[in-house]
């Protein structure tokens, strides 16, 4: 369900094999989007390898986690490709989720892959890997809650075509919720309205607004027979905040929206 021109933009980038940066808050559908467009433009499987390789980045993600490392197997020392190397070799879309979480030394690894060189040096093997023609690097990044310390360096940022995501407008979001959870349209619309209202709290009481994903969860709970208030409390309130005051406020909002 396109909200803006994101699909066209990605398609163009794909044609030129330009690396893509997806920006947007949690649970607004970045991963969903990349799955969709990979499926559409690249194909789910290529030469027996998956079309999309996703790496969730974390604080201790090191370069060797991405590129690969030697492992000792019995008496032998074996080189195992990391996910990035696999993608480069096989020509898959490599999706590095939440890239800023990774260590800085990891981030520079992707630099040579993202400019005209399209190479991946593997220093441990003294090998320089040329990227497959169909290889595409996609990273995602959430500008919201990460601290100032964890901002992307301009040298990294400026290697990507950026596509910005946000939560869809209320009616579109309602459509998404209804589609994903199978709940009726009016409840979906109410949930979308709830989401919109809760997002107003961002930056004052909450780090992040409620994601579409959570709203879908709530809808799924409701569909399986949980009362609306309980579903919202579980999927929205408790998931969003630990602060009793904020929780109470969100619960009150749920009570205002749902009887």
């Amino acid at each position: 369900l396109p909200v803006g021109d994101e699909v066209e933009l990605f398609e163009a980038a794909w044609r030129c094999r330009l690396p893509v940066l997806l920006k947007g808050p949690t649970g607004c559908g970045k991963t969903r989007f990349i799955e969709h467009v990979t499926h559409r433009f690249h194909g789910p499987v290529r030469d027996g390898a998956p079309g999309l390789i996703t790496v969730a980045c974390h604080e201790d993600l090191t370069g060797s986690d991405l590129v690969g490392r030697y492992l000792i197997k019995g008496d032998d020392t074996v080189w195992i490709d990391g996910p990035l190397t696999q993608a480069v070799r096989a020509g898959a879309v490599c999706y590095l989720d939440e890239i800023v979480e990774a260590r800085k030394d990891t981030i520079v690894l992707i630099h040579p892959l993202t400019d005209h060189r399209r190479i991946l040096p593997i220093d441990k093997r003294g090998e320089i890997l040329d990227a497959h023609d169909d290889f595409l690097l996609v990273i995602s990044y959430n500008p919201g809650y990460q601290s100032v310390l964890k901002d992307l360096k301009p040298s990294t940022r400026q290697r990507f075509v950026a596509i910005e995501f946000d939560y869809p407008p209320r009616d579109k979001e309602a459509e998404v919720i209804a589609h994903e959870s199978g709940i009726d349209a009016s409840t979906a619309l109410e949930l979308a309205a709830l989401g919109e209202k809760v997002r107003n709290l961002k930056a004052t009481g909450l780090e992040e607004g409620v994601s579409t994903r959570l709203l879908i969860y709530a809808a799924q709970l409701m569909r399986s027979g949980v009362s609306a208030r309980a579903a919202c409390s579980g999927a929205v309130t408790r998931a969003l905040s630990d602060d009793p005051e904020t929780q109470r406020a969100i619960d009150e909002l749920c009570a205002t929206v749902f009887p």
Partner: protein
């Protein structure tokens, strides 16, 4: 004409005397035999005294004219008797002859005879008293007739009893007592007379009080009932031995105060005071506020509540006055229903610790406030402020301020400040229902309507458009009364007392409710639930227009709503006008104007203003404190086992009827002042947001500058004031902190006021000088701290997974394998980032004692001198030097740090000097400020520590530290009641240190006081303090201490 007659009847003096001519004329008008009678007695008198005969001549003709023969004879015979014979007393006779002869002559013979006997009795004691007796008693006798007899008996007995006491003083007293006879005898009953006399005798404290006591009864006394008088006597007599002056003051003022109270409240209140009679001084201090205090208690619960307080007083008299003072506030917080439990709890506390009980009832302890809140269903805006603010923000997407307004309402208040669209004014508290959740619901719905005003254009009011919707006559009135077109003009033109604004708020609220209900199903359900409860609980005739409109907006069918004033057709048209999706604020105002025209005085006739014809329009009627019918389904009162609760659980329906001065009624300035003194309107100053109307009133009031002014009674009040929580002035910034009182083993809430003060500084000379001075030390310290600085990355060995092989481990594993043993899997190494994440706050004691010169360690040691060599080096200088070194060293290390100083004087003025906040680097200004640190005043450590904790609360650091640098124990002139004792301060500081610890901040105390061990051991663990014996070594020591104690 007898020769004697020349001296009286024919005397030229008579003709010249005042009234003489009239007398002679009256004499001439008498018939011959009557003249003879008059002359007969006159002649007899003239023999005894011509002067008396002259006085007789002025009275007798009139008396004879008005009295029958026997009556006149009785009067005249008595006069003769007083003038001559065995009872002769010229003064008494003169007094007698000055009285109204006709009245005396009309008295029954038996009574006169009795009176004569009493006179004889007095006469036998003192001739002077006898004269006074005649003067005082005869008119009363004439007035009261036979009823006077017991009073006269009691009077004479009490008077003679007084006279028999303590010699000439007794005579004086008795004289004053008898002299006051005529005004007092007609008021006092026979059994009251001896009490009065006894009280007077007990209050003999020097001339001023003693004699003036008998000058008369205090004002207002006459209007009290016998039972009330008895209670007044009980109180004053009981308190006289301990505090005669206060008792005298009470007797003089209390009756007038009591007389102003509602009649049914007097006796219960007096009984309360009697119970507390041992605290006469405190009662005298609170006397002027009694009126205001009583009026804040709903009439229906008054008896029960006062009875409960009296029982409390029987056990703990010292608790009564503090309780009375805090009663308005306590009631406001707990509601009438919660009071009994609150009192019972306090009784338990008082039993264990009287001082704590007193503080509890004065609402000076944290327990008291917490207990009040916990056991009340009332919702205070303050406590749900955060929730509602978030709620409102979510609803409308912008941050709005929630203000508290005065009074009760189901809707947000409409005032000028609301027009700025940045705030919503909500009732300060809601106590309509017996459950907290329901009360919260009221507040929440009101907040939603506040948002609705913004979203649905309430402020886009156009009076022009409103006029178009009104019938022509009303439209023209509106055009004539209000200039301009906008909302502000409306508020400007319509006086506050006019019901229109409240009606408009109600109509617009209903309109918004229609809109909100259309949008949110949950809102619909909630408001309907609430409305149903209100319908059940408020009987139809007692529903105010505001309530009815609320119910209309909530979607309750009109059939259930109509009242006499609001018939079904009107409600139908109101609902139609407000309920359509297109209706606007203009419709709401048009409807409100029409309803107002219908309910109150016609605007067309009398314009805007408070209505006269329709008093029921008072909007607080249904929303006021306890104006609800009891819940029909029966309240589940969990605490029914406590008996006192039942006493107070009177039918709340009755509350509002007799209680004209319920909540929400504007107070007079005088009442407000009294309540202020009583601490009742503390909320006015609570935070900057509370700038409601009451706040404005309060600011205009001339507040008493000293406690003595406020109460008029000097002694005992000073200590009293020192024990009251501070009253925040609304405009005053700064911070309020609780303080621990070890005597009551509780916190005194909002006890200290702290201000942050920017410190001026030098141009950095001190800093530079110190750096020069310690030029040798500094590099050493820097090196030490550099060693502390962690490696950015640390190699971690022995991992099961990692960046690279650990070759040693790999070789070992290989060996193990060869040896056919199972090798370790931990073959990898990784590099891990290490960060130092420390924040340290240096809190500097800037008390006056740091002005002391530094003592050399040994008497013969070289005297320390300041850098310039002119003045001796002081403790503060050394501390500053230590800070300079520390700052330099910490810059090297990169740890975050802040430097603050504190001092102050008294709990109202704790000063917190900003030297270097965490955010600021070691700038030139900071350097200057370190130089500008100078000794100031006292050392209130606890408050300063609490503020340091606040400063660090929002800091994210893995470890937080506070370094307290001081030179002695905590001290301030009101740090505890006993200035000489340090215990209070030490205990408070101890609690503050514990609070820091609980907040995740590690405190460390460094003192240069050699006796520091004694009290620091009490305040904190041994490992948390250090006493530096040699002050001069502080600059060298401090970095070492830091290094040792601050762990990343």
């Amino acid at each position: 004409v007898s020769p004697g007659r020349a001296h009286w009847l024919q005397s030229p003096h008579l003709a010249r005397a005042e009234g003489g001519a009239e007398s002679l004329a009256a004499f001439r008008r008498l018939a011959e035999p009557e003249q003879r009678e008059v002359v007969h007695f006159g002649d007899v008198l003239a023999e005894a005294s011509p002067a008396l005969a002259l006085a007789y001549a002025l009275r007798a003709p009139h008396a004879r004219a008005r009295l029958p023969r026997e009556g006149f004879a009785r009067w005249a015979k008595l006069a003769v008797e007083l003038a001559s014979g065995e009872l002769a007393n010229r003064d008494a006779a003169g007094a007698y002859l000055r009285l109204d002869a006709a009245a005396i002559g009309a008295c029954r013979p038996a009574l006169l005879e009795h009176w004569r006997k009493l006179y004889a009795e007095v006469q036998s004691v003192s001739r002077k008293l006898a004269a006074l007796f005649v003067e005082g008693s005869a008119p009363v006798m004439a007035k009261l007739g036979e009823r006077a007899r017991p009073r006269l008996d009691a009077w004479v007995e009490a008077g003679l009893d007084l006279a028999s006491r303590s010699g000439w003083r007794g005579e004086f007293l008795a004289a004053a007592f008898f002299a006051a006879g005529s005004p007092t005898l007609s008021v006092l009953e026979a059994e009251e007379i001896p009490r009065w006399a006894a009280l007077g005798a007990a209050l003999q404290l020097g001339r001023d009080i003693g004699q003036s006591f008998f000058q008369g009864l205090p004002p207002g006394f006459a209007s009290l009932t016998p039972a009330e008088r008895a209670a007044t006597f009980d109180l004053c007599v009981a308190s006289a031995p301990r505090a005669a002056r206060a008792a005298a003051g009470l007797f003089a003022t209390l009756p007038a105060i009591a007389a102003q109270l509602p009649e049914d409240a007097r006796l219960p209140l007096l009984r309360v005071l009697v119970a507390a009679s041992s605290e006469a001084e405190a009662i005298a201090g609170v006397a002027s506020m009694l009126d205001a205090i009583v009026r804040c208690v709903p009439a229906a619960v008054r008896d029960g509540l006062f009875d409960r307080i009296a029982r409390l007083g029987a056990r703990f008299p010292f608790c009564v006055v503090p309780l009375l003072r805090s009663l308005p506030r306590a009631l406001e917080q707990a509601g009438a229903r919660g009071m009994a439990r609150w009192i019972a709890w306090g009784e338990g506390i008082a039993e264990a610790n009287p001082e704590a009980g007193r503080a509890y009832f004065a609402l000076e302890s944290r327990t008291a406030l917490r207990y009040l809140r916990e056991h009340s269903a009332a919702v205070h805006l303050e406590e749900v402020h955060g929730v509602l603010r978030s709620y409102v923000r979510m609803l409308c997407g912008v941050s709005l301020t929630l203000r508290s307004g005065d009074g009760a309402s189901l809707r947000p208040f409409l005032d000028r400040e609301s027009l700025e669209r940045s705030s919503i004014a909500l009732p300060e508290s809601v106590d309509l229902f017996s459950s907290w959740e329901d009360n919260f619901s009221v507040l929440k719905l009101a907040a939603a309507v506040g948002v609705g005003r913004l979203l649905y254009g309430s402020f886009e009011l156009s009076l022009t458009r409103v006029r178009a919707r009104l019938p022509a006559p009303l439209a023209s009135v509106l055009a004539a009364t209000i200039e301009g077109d906008g909302f502000a003009d409306l508020l400007e033109a319509v006086p506050e007392a006019d019901p229109l604004i409240a009606l408009f708020a109600a109509c617009d609220g209903a309109r918004i409710d229609f809109r909100l209900r259309r949008q949110y199903r949950g809102y619909t359900a909630e408001i309907e639930r609430l409305a149903r409860r209100l319908v059940r609980r408020v009987a139809r005739p007692r529903r105010s227009a505001e309530l009815v409109l609320f119910l209309v907006g909530a979607g309750i069918p009109h059939g259930e709503l109509l009242t006499d004033d609001l018939p079904a057709d009107l409600l139908g048209s109101v609902a139609a006008a407000l309920g359509s999706p297109e209706s606007t604020v203009d419709d709401a105002l048009a409807v409100a104007i029409q309803i107002r025209e219908r309910l109150a005085d016609s605007i067309a006739v009398s314009g805007f203003g408070p209505p006269t014809s329709y008093e029921e329009l008072l909007f607080e009627k249904v929303t006021g404190d306890a104006a609800l019918d009891p819940e029909p389904e029966g309240e589940l009162d969990a605490s029914a086992e406590s008996r006192p609760t039942e006493v107070l659980d009177v039918d709340p329906a009755a509350v509002e009827e007799g209680d004209d001065d319920g909540p929400g009624t504007p107070l007079s300035a005088e009442e407000l002042r009294r309540l202020l003194e009583a601490g009742a309107i503390l909320k006015v100053g609570r935070g900057a947001e509370a700038a409601d109307s009451a706040g404005i009133f309060a600011r205009d009031l001339p507040l008493p500058t000293s406690a003595a002014d406020a109460t008029g009674e000097g002694q005992g009040v000073e200590g009293d004031r020192a024990k009251r929580p501070r009253r925040a002035a609304p405009e005053r910034g700064g911070f309020d902190y609780d303080e621990w009182d070890y005597a009551i083993r509780d916190y005194r809430p909002r006890w200290c006021h702290l201000d942050e003060i920017n410190l001026g500084g030098d141009a950095g000379e001190f800093f530079q000088d110190t750096l020069m001075r310690y030029a040798e030390l500094l590099p050493e310290v820097r090196r030490q701290f550099q060693r502390l600085r962690p490696e950015r990355y640390r190699r971690v060995r022995g991992l099961e997974d990692g960046e690279d092989f650990d070759f040693n481990a790999a070789v070992e594993a290989r060996v193990e394998l060869r040896a056919r043993r199972s090798p370790s899997q931990r073959l990898y190494v990784a590099r891990r980032a290490e960060e130092r994440d420390v924040a340290t706050l240096f809190l500097l004691d800037m008390s006056a004692s740091t002005d002391e010169p530094v003592q050399p360690r040994e008497p013969g040691g070289e005297p320390s001198a300041a850098a310039d060599g002119k003045r001796p080096r002081r403790i503060i200088d050394v501390t500053k030097e230590a800070l300079v070194i520390m700052a330099e060293a910490l810059e090297e290390l990169g740890d975050r740090y802040a430097v603050y100083g504190f001092s102050g004087q008294g709990r109202e003025n704790v000063e917190f000097y900003l030297v270097k906040p965490f955010q600021e680097g070691l700038t030139a200004r900071v350097r200057g400020r370190i130089g500008g640190i100078e000794p100031r005043r006292s050392t209130r450590m606890g408050t300063a520590l609490r503020h340091a904790r606040t400063k660090m609360a929002n800091l994210t650091a893995r470890s937080k530290h506070v370094f307290l640098l001081s030179d002695g124990f905590p001290q301030d002139f009101d740090y505890g009641t006993d200035r000489r004792s340090n215990t209070y301060g030490i205990q408070d500081t101890m609690m503050a240190l514990q609070e820091c610890q609980a907040a995740g901040i590690t405190p460390f105390c460094i003192t240069v006081d050699r006796t520091g061990h004694d009290y620091l051991r009490e305040m904190c663990e041994t490992s948390r303090y250090l006493v530096i014996e040699d002050v001069a070594s502080l600059p060298t020591e401090l970095p070492k201490i830091y290094e040792r104690w601050v762990r990343a």
